[in-house]
């Protein structure tokens, strides 16, 4: 009985298969077109201009050529290999405001090319760091309309080039609206559609025939910002590679997203993320600039600038496969949440030649769980961190902080017993023979046998006892007993050195305890030249008036106040924030810390969160005034630091505040006069 049922089912499947094959065999292939968008309207209508929506529908085969007007048809020519969408929008009408999501791009090989728009100048860039041309065509949601995604790509070999896409987000309704993105890459019917997955698979998130599209190129776009570099409506995520293979994301500016700039989900193998400017992202959600999850094997992240983001630069959360992170500049991140610049979980990753500085957390953290080893961290330059340059989580340290900034220096393991569940197989950091070498000609020490020792110069003005690994200055091999001897050049009395050990079967160690050349008395405490805490520089930067000799005597307000249990900025507070913005614009070398405080009523956790909301809203206001996120760090102290002692209404009013603490970029505090106190 049972057997016959199976046979019956089997034959049904066969019939269906045959039907499907025969259907596709007889249906006409969808022709390729070269189209030019001439109208910035967002409707499918017989009129004089071809809209983007019409062009996509036509290429997808959802709209027939016959249904277009002759004027529209004149913008369409048949093509032989693939379809393209170009732009020739009238001047001043280059903003395409969408009333709803555009149809997914379903035809392989389609190109949407904003560089064809007249006025596009490929040679002109708004940034010195990485040259990315300024787009002309702008894709935004219509006013008062929530649109979840800008472009949704579900087919192979699609190219999106030279567009400004921003504002795509949606208020949560009865449930969270997700997954959103400026550019969303997925299999054919992505969520929230479940028309294909009537019954979810139980072995994987999606069925094997939900095939990820391949070889998609996203280049020269500005995501999250308009062509003048601003937005009033932050987008949710930049590029979401929900499912996609061999995706290339290169030379994009990805800024002002509430979530991550680039996020992967189910499968994003062989993704290449290069030369992007990723600034000020993670403002209200997933804080990391690049968040890699799912299968990300053979992905590469290189040559990017990640700056002023709220969390990590690159965070690998329990991914499959290994990635290479190289030649990136990762600085001023961790603004809202203290996180490592690069957080690794998993094995076989490479972190090479990056510059990591001004992070409110560690440099590179290797998680203890899931088992993470063979992670090579070499030739990076670390500077001004609030943590270790390299931190391997040890002994199953999986508490919340270990998942953010690491767990600090590891104990040395004893004998052949390695600590379980430690990042990079618990490789020990090297130890110098002495903490004071008379000169740099003979540097000796011990490390794990046969490991590669990389020696680093330590930055001048640090108080850390391990690193930061500021400048790679040499490499030697440890012998079979673990001893090494190095001869270094270019070091003088008062310099400090540190080192890491790398064993290809284990990975790279934490930094060694610093040793001085000469004696510790010689160690120089001179400060690094003041770095301006900015992420990008315009091509012809305004000449900055030289900074006055420290300490600057600033006349700037240091507090704004809030109403009971509220986190919004009152009009009076807004004028104070305007004055703060003026000061910050005047002194580009000054950065601030925004500390949220509450009155002592309500419970601690609630007040902690309320303080954070107050600080975040104050920052949001300043961001809109054009202050770079890289200059603002957020903290919440909740009710722990009251300013008033009593419990009258006026005392509570004074407690409900955000304090602004001015620092120059090296953390040197400035003298500040408190100007006013605003009571609610």
């Amino acid at each position: 009985m049972k057997t016959s049922k199976y046979i019956y089912q089997f034959s049904t499947v066969q019939i269906l298969l045959l039907l499907g094959l025969s259907q596709s065999a007889i249906s006409q292939p969808i022709p390729f077109y070269k189209t030019t968008v001439t109208s910035n309207a967002d409707e499918i209508k017989v009129d004089n201009g071809l809209t983007l929506r019409e062009a996509i529908a036509l290429i997808n085969g959802e709209l027939k050529l016959e249904n277009l007007s002759s004027a529209e048809r004149s913008q369409v020519t048949p093509a032989s290999q693939s379809s393209t969408i170009g732009f020739n929008l009238p001047s001043g009408q280059t903003q395409i405001a969408l009333n709803s999501e555009l149809p997914s791009i379903t035809i392989p090989g389609t190109t949407i090319d904003g560089t064809t728009q007249p006025g596009y100048d490929a040679t002109k860039s708004a940034t010195q760091e990485i040259s990315i041309a300024i787009p002309v065509v702008e894709l935004i949601p219509a006013a008062n309309v929530d649109v979840l995604r800008g472009l949704t790509i579900v087919s192979d070999r699609v190219t999106i080039r030279g567009l400004s896409i921003h504002g795509f987000s949606a208020a949560h309704k009865s449930t969270a609206m997700t997954p959103p993105a400026d550019i969303f890459i997925s299999h054919a019917t992505p969520p929230p559609s479940i028309e294909k997955q009537k019954m979810p698979a139980n072995f994987a998130p999606y069925y094997p025939d939900d095939i990820p599209p391949k070889n998609i190129i996203i280049e020269n776009n500005w995501l999250g910002i308009s062509p003048i570099g601003k937005t009033d409506r932050p987008s949710a995520f930049g590029v979401s590679v929900f499912q996609g293979e061999n995706t290339t994301i290169r030379r994009n500016r990805i800024e002002f997203h509430d979530g991550s700039a680039i996020i992967t989900s189910v499968a994003a193998t062989n993704t290449d993320v290069s030369e992007n400017i990723i600034v000020n992202n993670g403002l209200a959600g997933m804080p990391d600039a690049i968040r890699l999850e799912g299968n990300i094997d053979r992905s590469r992240i290189h040559g990017n600038l990640m700056c002023g983001n709220d969390g990590a630069g690159v965070y690998l959360f329990k991914p499959n496969g290994s990635v290479k992170i190289s030649d990136n500049q990762i600085r001023y991140n961790g603004r809202r949440l203290r996180r490592a610049a690069i957080y690794l979980t998993g094995s076989g990753h490479e972190v090479i030649d990056n510059q990591i500085s001004h992070q409110s957390g560690s440099g590179v953290v290797v998680g203890a769980y899931p088992q993470s080893d063979r992670n090579i961290i070499a030739n990076n330059r670390f500077d001004t961190l609030e943590g270790m340059s390299i931190d391997l989580n040890t002994q199953e340290n999986t508490y919340a902080q270990a998942w953010q900034t690491g767990d600090g220096p590891n104990p040395k393991h004893k004998g052949s017993y390695r600590h379980l569940e430690t990042g990079n197989a618990a490789i020990d950091s090297p130890e110098f023979t002495t903490d004071e070498f008379t000169n740099a000609n003979v540097i000796t020490g011990t490390a794990e046998p046969n490991s590669q020792i990389a020696l680093y110069k330590v930055q001048l003005n640090t108080e850390d006892d391990r690193g930061p690994l500021s400048q790679p200055i040499g490499q030697v091999m440890a012998d079979a007993e673990g001893k090494f001897t190095a001869q270094l050049t270019g070091l003088g009395k008062g310099d400090r050195i540190s080192a890491t050990a790398t064993d290809p079967t284990k990975g790279t160690s934490e930094p060694a305890i610093n040793a001085a050349i000469g004696t510790w008395k010689d160690v120089k405490t001179t400060r690094n030249p003041t770095a301006i805490p900015a992420c990008t520089t315009p091509p012809n930067p305004p000449i900055i008036t030289p900074q006055p000799v420290l300490p600057i005597k600033l006349k700037a307000p240091t507090r704004i106040h809030f109403a009971l249990d509220q986190d919004f900025i009152s009009p009076v507070s807004a004028t104070i924030l305007n004055r703060i913005a003026t000061v910050l614009n005047q002194y580009p070398g000054v950065s601030i810390e925004l500390e949220g405080h509450t009155d002592p009523r309500a419970n601690n956790d609630y007040n902690q969160a309320l303080g954070m909301r107050r600080a975040t809203n104050a920052r949001t206001y300043l961001l809109r005034q054009g202050i770079s996120a890289s200059r603002m760090i957020l903290r919440s102290l909740g009710e722990t630091k009251r300013i008033a002692k009593g419990n009258s209404k006026i005392d509570y009013a004074r407690d409900r505040r955000v304090e602004i603490i001015y620092r120059d970029s090296d953390g040197f505090e400035l003298t500040v006069e408190e100007s006013d106190l605003q009571l609610e």
Partner: protein
């Protein structure tokens, strides 16, 4: 578990008395009846030439105190608490504190509900006044009638003790009983029947594996297909906090799993504390409307297990729903 096979050690007996938790021992004196023995004397004498003459004295009543017998009984168990399925061993010490021999000794021991006597377990010994075992009697005979066990022993000399050890097994029914059992000894003495005090021992019966407390389990994970179930490729979220209706706070492990044992049966509500998960919000469930709630309500059956899973997804709006 204390071994009850050996009766040789006086230390053990000492320990036995110390361990006596609920055993109350009060010497019971058997009702002695005094016997009156009337005593008369007769004198005969011969006078010359006269017939012999006898003379009786007056009757002197002398009460005679015969040998008395008295029984005392002590009962202890080897543990103070027990779970269903465990064995408990009891020890009875029956002592003849009188001066007369007691015959036809029988001890009635009433077990609590759910305790099953192990028929092969009883062993006995006779100890002298000093507590030193002197003989090992022939196997103690025990008859069981319901929850009452009756041990029989033929004869107990004055100042001797009979020590009986036996074991009982607890069944799940024991949780409904009191855990208290009692023992009493009877016997015959020359002056009549004697019975002892009632000794009792109470053991705390804990539910153990038949506890009706349930277990709450669950997971917090990143849902990538929005079905509310964790498939391979959907990682668990570490250090997520789930708060129950009574304020209990449970944190997930590195795999995103949590469990909470010893939860009283009934309805329970849990909610995910999203402030413990920066960057995440509750994932919509596209398949089941009820799973879109921020909290889960479960009905936990006695000794049952209930699940509260929370699916989350990376978000762009923290703390906003």
């Amino acid at each position: 578990m204390v071994s009850v096979n050996s009766m040789q050690s006086p230390f053990w007996l000492g320990g036995l008395l110390v361990m006596s938790i609920c055993g109350i021992s009060l010497p019971a004196v058997a009702q002695s009846t005094s016997t009156i023995i009337p005593n008369t004397a007769t004198a005969e004498f011969n006078s010359p030439g006269k017939p012999p003459k006898s003379i009786s004295s007056n009757t002197v009543k002398i009460p005679v105190q015969g040998g008395t017998a008295a029984l005392e009984i002590i009962k202890i168990g080897d543990r103070a608490s027990i779970e269903p399925g465990d064995a408990i061993s009891y020890r009875l010490q029956i002592r003849n504190t009188g001066t007369a021999t007691i015959t036809d000794l029988s001890i009635k021991d009433t077990l609590p509900l759910g305790f099953k006597f192990l028929a092969k377990s009883p062993v006995g010994a006779i100890a002298n006044a000093a507590g030193t075992p002197i003989t090992t009697p022939s196997p103690i005979t025990a008859t069981v009638s319901g929850s009452v066990i009756t041990f029989k022993y033929p004869e107990l000399q004055p100042q001797q003790s009979l020590i009986i050890a036996y074991a009982a097994l607890t069944s799940p029914d024991a949780v409904r009983g009191t855990g208290r059992n009692s023992a009493i000894a009877f016997g015959l003495s020359p002056s009549g029947s004697v019975n002892s005090n009632i000794a009792s021992h109470r053991v705390l019966v804990q539910a153990g594996i038949v506890s009706d407390c349930g277990t709450l389990i669950g997971r917090v994970f990143e849902d990538r297909n929005f079905d509310g179930e964790q498939q391979p490729g959907e990682p668990g979220i570490p250090n997520a906090v789930v708060i129950l209706e009574d304020g209990n706070r449970v944190m997930t492990d590195a795999d995103g799993l949590y469990s909470l044992p010893f939860v009283l049966a009934g309805y329970h509500t849990g909610t995910l504390d999203l402030t413990s998960l920066p960057g995440y919000t509750l994932a919509p469930n596209l398949y089941r409307i009820d799973k879109n709630s921020t909290s889960r309500s479960v009905r936990l059956e006695p000794s049952g297990m209930a699940r509260m899973n929370f699916a989350v997804t990376p978000t762009y709006r923290e703390g906003v729903r």
